[in-house]
Amino acid sequence: MRRILYLVRETVANIWVNRMSVAIGVVTTAFTIACFGVFFLLYWNLKNLAGSLQDEIQVMVYLEPDTSKVMVSGVRRHLEGEHAVASVAFISEQEAVKDFHQQFPEESSLLDGMGDTPLPASFVVTLAPGFQSSELVEGLAERVRGVPGVEFVRYSRDWIDTLGLFVSYLEIGALVIGLILAVATVTIIANTIRLSFYARKKEIEILRLIGATRSFIAVPYVVEGAFLGVVGGGLSLALLKGGFEVFRFELDASGWFQGLDSVIAFFPFQISILLVVTGFLLGSASSLLSVYSLLRSRA
């Protein structure tokens, strides 16, 4: 108990003695983690956007004009038999015209003089989860094109794939930048701990002389590093949240990207905690590295 009390007191003393370098360390760590956080937040939102768009992907199967009810039923049976298909909705020629008028009231005149059924009947196919990749959709489209009564099949995969590719590049970018910034954070914290260590070099010399183990000497410095990382991580989270709210406010006020505000979101609680945990882990690891390398000799 007395040992724990001693270690706690030493940690507090370390932080107090080096309060200036600890404060600088906390602020730099906070900014470094926040830099990564900005990038990660961008990646997070785009990934979510791509994910929700992917979930909504639909395949339109247009039927030949004047297809008989039997053929329509045949096409439906074929579609419902496909593993990739989650649900099928039929839009008759009349419903298609009605929808056109509802969606494009200004352009209603375009259909004038084209008869009662200028638009083809179609099936709207919603894909099952896990069947939304390009290859699988293309395979489904190929199979459906051969079904009697089907005139053509259309799906808007390309731009979603491009977005997916962009997100995957962003993922690699986040990883690389995260790695670089992690090294920077480790260096900052390790140097702060090193300063703290040198400030108490005489004391450490005495502790070693009277039989203190490396772990006993290292604990206050490792706790100091962990503290620095946690506070830095917490501060970075506050900076990110503040910055995010300002950005959203400005976005709303400008009126640009209307509708996007419902898609843009801050990190969920778990990810927010992960930022602080990252700070804790980086802080602990860097102080461990720093202290153990300084305590290598036997003297």
Partner: protein
Amino acid sequence: MIQFFQVTKYFDRYAALRDVTLRVDKGECVLLTGPSGAGKTTLLKLIFGAEVPDEGQILVQNRNIARLRASDVPYLRRTMGFVLQDFKLLPQKTVFENVALPLIIQGTAGLEVRRKVSEALKAVGLDHKRGSQTAGVSAGEQQRVCIARAIVNSPIILLADEPTGNLDTNLTMEIIELFKAIHARGTTVMLATHNRQVVEEMKGRIIRLHSGRVLSDQGVYSETNSLSCP
């Protein structure tokens, strides 16, 4: 207790100790003398594992210092007490806290710490100063705090390097008396000193070093061999 077998230690090609062979038995009082650079401090450092011999072997309580892992060195040191010329105390801590440190490191229980520290402080006559800041007490008292810290965990061996180097004649006498009392309790004492007064008063086995070699291992100091003492 302590055995040196043809030990040589170099520092940048300079031999601080050369071919030293000696044996110190349990309960002995050994006075290491010799001019500066003779190798006294190096010899003590080898005993407490701060250095490893370049040649030869050292056994301390049957443990081979050359083969001792760095992680085992603290446990070896816990069986020893150290008194140094520059005290090596923590000035911002109280006398009590300084003396308690070796016990805290070993994880001794709180009550036991208080009891042992009180005993050690009484032994050096500083019980009344337990709450004082170490930086605020006199040089003689600081050395006594250092001695209290060295004996608080009842060490088997007490190593002292110029313990009276910063003290006047009267204070030196006080410290000598403390060392005598510690030795009388059965502790093996090894003391490196320049001080003739210490050599004369301690009446221990005198080992003279010069340029890293053992010049003489004379046994107890007497008037007849006093001229050969430094």
